[in-house]
């Protein structure tokens, strides 16, 4: 199901940033200098990769900085890249209309990173769902009970290693 093609064979989608994202790409490196992030671009968004432990302080910085003011968390999800898990945050600024992707890689054996609930309360259920489906532990989250799976569900269905079942009796 998940085949890894080598980088030389598969074509990569061309990057097509719009004007606002290009302006954002210019001002980001100076503001985030202390975290030494890796700044790049996906097809239509600016992406920033940091170490997992830096995530809450970086989020607080981009929320409170007056040039950026990323006060809206669009989405928080986890992607399984077989060797590591990547936690992806999509951020949006309601005033400046910037969009940004923030990524942090955690290991498969001990996937844990601090929660961003103190910054955006709207991250609550996203983190619980990521925990249910992928097993990522968010330190500092007040309530990590299962959200969308029933109590006693074994395994992490979001991961690639989880087999899709054939017809089963219940």
């Amino acid at each position: 199901m998940a085949e890894r093609h080598s980088r030389e064979e598969t074509p990569r989608a061309p990057v097509a940033l719009d004007d606002r994202s290009r302006a954002l790409e210019l001002i980001l490196p100076k503001i985030l200098a202390e975290f030494q992030p890796a700044i790049g671009a996906t097809v239509n968004l600016v992406e920033v990769t940091v170490k997992p432990q830096d995530v809450p302080s970086l989020c607080r910085l981009v929320k409170e900085d007056s040039q950026l003011s990323f006060d809206y968390l669009l989405c928080l999800c986890v992607v399984d890249y077989l060797d590591y898990l990547q936690v992806v945050y999509h951020l949006y600024s309601t005033t400046m209309k910037y969009k940004m992707v923030l990524k942090a890689n955690v290991t498969m054996d001990e996937p844990s990173l601090p929660s961003v609930m103190p910054v955006w309360p709207g991250a609550d259920w996203f983190e619980r769902e990521a925990h249910d489906l992928f097993g990522v532990v968010f330190e500092g989250h007040p309530n990590m009970a299962p959200l969308i799976l029933y109590e006693g569900f074994e395994g992490y269905p979001g991961r690639k290693s989880y087999e899709m079942p054939e017809y089963t009796e219940w």
Binding site: M1, A2, E3, R4, H5, E9, T10, P11, R12, A13, P14, A16, T42, V43, N44, L45, D71, Y72, L73, L74, C75, C77, V79, D80, V88, H90, T94, K97, K99, V101, W120, P121, G122, D124, W125, P146, L147, I148, L149, Y150, P157, G158, Y162, M164
Partner: protein, 370 residues
């Protein structure tokens, strides 16, 4: 809460379980009440978790449109549109103009149908039994048009990657003109019936207040956010498809209570009809789809696309690694984020108001649980 000389009271736990006539689907709320006042609340979701995101990784790109249809099962065209836009952005595919206009007309009609359903069910939540009959009368007319265009009343699978599946029927313009006239009349009738009725105002004014800053911090979107005074609409902030060619307004509320959330949607129906009229005037002739093979392999990369669902802002995060099946599909559902604010909304409400507040958020559990 007990004072000198009065009875000692104890808090009672009331379970508004997964089967309940007014929880709009399988949603479970556990309330701790003191008399009639709600003291604490805990929502439980997951009773409709079908694993749609994981299933997407096992299907080719063309098959996933049907899975997206069933996410928000009232706004089908809008879900199909956001997914097709994500794949088209990844592949840098151009969609012909006529297809864009047809997509916009169908999505806005779907918005009207969805808000009609909200109008009916919100009336039932507040105790009014007649508006739902009016709402469904108009909804049947819209669904008859959907059937003429796409072949199905719901779950159309009509908006495909590269355009739409087939052209509209020949008498489309006459049918639309007739339908728009009937819808305008129907919306006005419903508005006159319910919006300023004294009982309805007493049940919804001042109930479930939320201010703009809290709403933004929870990630609310759509009419529930616009009712609190925040002018955020993806069709205006980041116009997708051909929305930048139309002249329409965005209704904004003032106080952020349930009545505002309701009336914003009634006004949105009128604005949607404005968009449809303009789109019908401007629609050009031409092909309705760019020829795309069934088995496509988009280039490797990732993309995040947002669009405006009747319920709020839906986002699709699509990661591709060059194969014929996507690597990861993540849906950012609007009702999921709107529901997170429920605890804040219910902080000082009565038990009877809990039903009205939940109804005013206009949830669809298929989207919350995916």
């Amino acid at each position: 809460m007990s004072t000198e000389g009065q009875l000692d009271t104890v808090q009672m736990m009331v379970n508004m379980g997964p089967q309940h006539p007014s929880t709009h689907g399988v949603f479970r709320m556990v309330l701790w009440v003191d008399g009639e006042r709600i003291v604490d609340m805990e929502p439980h979701i997951g009773y409709l978790h079908r694993g749609a995101e994981k299933l997407c990784e096992g299907e080719i790109y063309a098959q996933i449109v049907t899975l997206f249809d069933r996410l928000d099962y009232i706004g089908n065209f809008n879900n199909e549109l956001v997914y097709c836009m994500a794949v088209e952005k990844l592949m840098a595919l151009e969609v012909p103009e006529r297809a864009e206009y047809i997509r916009v007309i169908m999505c806005e009609l779907n918005r009207v149908a969805s808000h009609l359903l909200f109008f009916g069910t919100f009336g039932i939540d507040a105790g009014a039994m007649t508006p739902i009959m009016y709402a469904f009368r108009d909804r049947e007319k819209v669904q008859a048009l959907f059937e003429a265009v796409s072949g199905a009343r719901m779950m159309h699978n009509y908006i495909r990657i590269g355009g739409v599946k087939n052209d509209v029927p020949e008498d489309f313009r006459e049918r639309m003109d007739k339908l728009i006239a009937e819808l305008k009349q129907g919306i006005d009738e419903g508005d006159r019936l319910l919006s300023f009725s004294e009982i309805f105002l007493a049940r919804t004014k001042g109930i479930g207040l939320i201010d703009a800053e809290t709403a933004i911090s929870y990630g609310m979107s759509g009419p529930s956010l616009r009712a609190s005074g925040v002018p955020m609409d993806v069709r205006k902030d980041e116009p997708y498809s051909v929305y930048d060619r139309f002249d329409f307004g965005i209704p904004i509320g003032e106080k952020g209570d349930s009545w505002d959330r309701y009336y914003v949607r009634v006004e949105e129906m009128r604005q949607s009809i404005r968009i449809i009229e303009q789109a019908l005037e401007q629609m050009p002739d031409g092909p309705v789809a760019t020829p795309v093979r069934i088995l496509i392999r988009p280039p490797a990369g990732e993309v995040y696309v947002r669009s405006e669902n009747p319920r709020g802002e839906i986002g699709v995060y699509l990661v591709s690694n060059g194969a014929d099946k996507p690597y990861r599909v993540k849906v950012r559902p609007p009702s999921f984020c709107n529901l997170m604010a429920l605890k804040h909304l219910l902080r000082d409400a009565y038990v009877a108001d809990a039903v009205v507040i939940l109804g005013s958020l206009d949830l669809v559990l298929g989207e919350v649980d995916r």
